[in-house]
Symmetry: C2
Subunit: 153 residues, 2 copies
């Protein structure tokens, strides 16, 4: 449990806020590598709990995990580690804002990531968006945040 500040809520401890989303993954190193190397997040913390036989890693773009993060949970002995977790019909995705969704998708494609919905503008006047899958099959929505022209360098 080294390196994790369990009370890292910053100055806003008295205000409620959305902290993170948790998904279970079959291979923690593989999942961390995807969110770090393909999506550019930082590993904010990691805890290995021998007594509970699970590990968790927090991934995000900041330096701390109190302003939006993804919690990756790995249950050491779960059969889904080899069989795969099921996804149901309810949960949708985590959305990530990126400056240039076209460039991001090209970079992800080159890295072997499955692009499940190519960049497109869904609502006139709105940003381009795309969908990719993480190594455990979770959908990630990519939303363009910069107003630069689509595909511009």
């Amino acid at each position: 449990m080294s390196g994790m500040d369990l009370w890292a809520w910053g100055e806003d401890a008295e205000q409620p806020r959305i902290l993170h989303s948790m998904v279970r993954v079959g291979d923690l190193d593989r999942a961390v590598a995807f969110y770090r190397d393909a999506l550019g997040m930082n590993q904010l913390s990691r805890i290995d709990v021998e007594s509970g036989r699970f590990s968790i890693a927090f991934m995000g773009y900041g330096e701390a995990f109190h302003t939006g993060a993804i919690e990756l949970t790995h249950n050491w002995d779960h059969p889904a580690n080899t069989e795969g977790y099921t996804h149901g019909s309810g949960y949708g995705h985590v959305a990530i804002g990126v400056p240039d969704v076209h460039a991001t998708c090209e970079r992800l494609r080159a890295a072997g990531v499955a692009i499940t919905v190519e960049p497109k503008i869904l609502i006139e006047g709105g940003p381009a968006l795309a969908f990719v899958k993480d190594p455990d099959g979770y959908s990630i929505e990519l939303i363009q945040t910069s107003r630069r022209p689509a595909g511009a360098p």
Copy 2:
């Protein structure tokens, strides 16, 4: 689509960031009421798309939806609206930081919300946490963010 700024990314449009998590819900008004009245979030925006026969509402604690939000999607004609969405084994929960998890759970219980895990400290020295279910059966983790003594007013 009134009232929604499609480019409300603030000053950080050039930096990637985690934007929101999306879940599908069977009754949008019921879900909005839960996140607003029981959890104290604001409805940040709502879009009704006649052509796609869906509505989405963004819920969060801030005034805009670029720093952490929950997207509630309602597909008008989906059979899951009456049959219920399935949850699979993979997706876990959204975590919400609250100043006093005991007080929050008491308030939610009084409002008829199911407390699935009563407040407890999982890791010595860490915050108390609890789990509740939203009206569509999604797990919400509540994590105490203030260091006030457990249960103190």
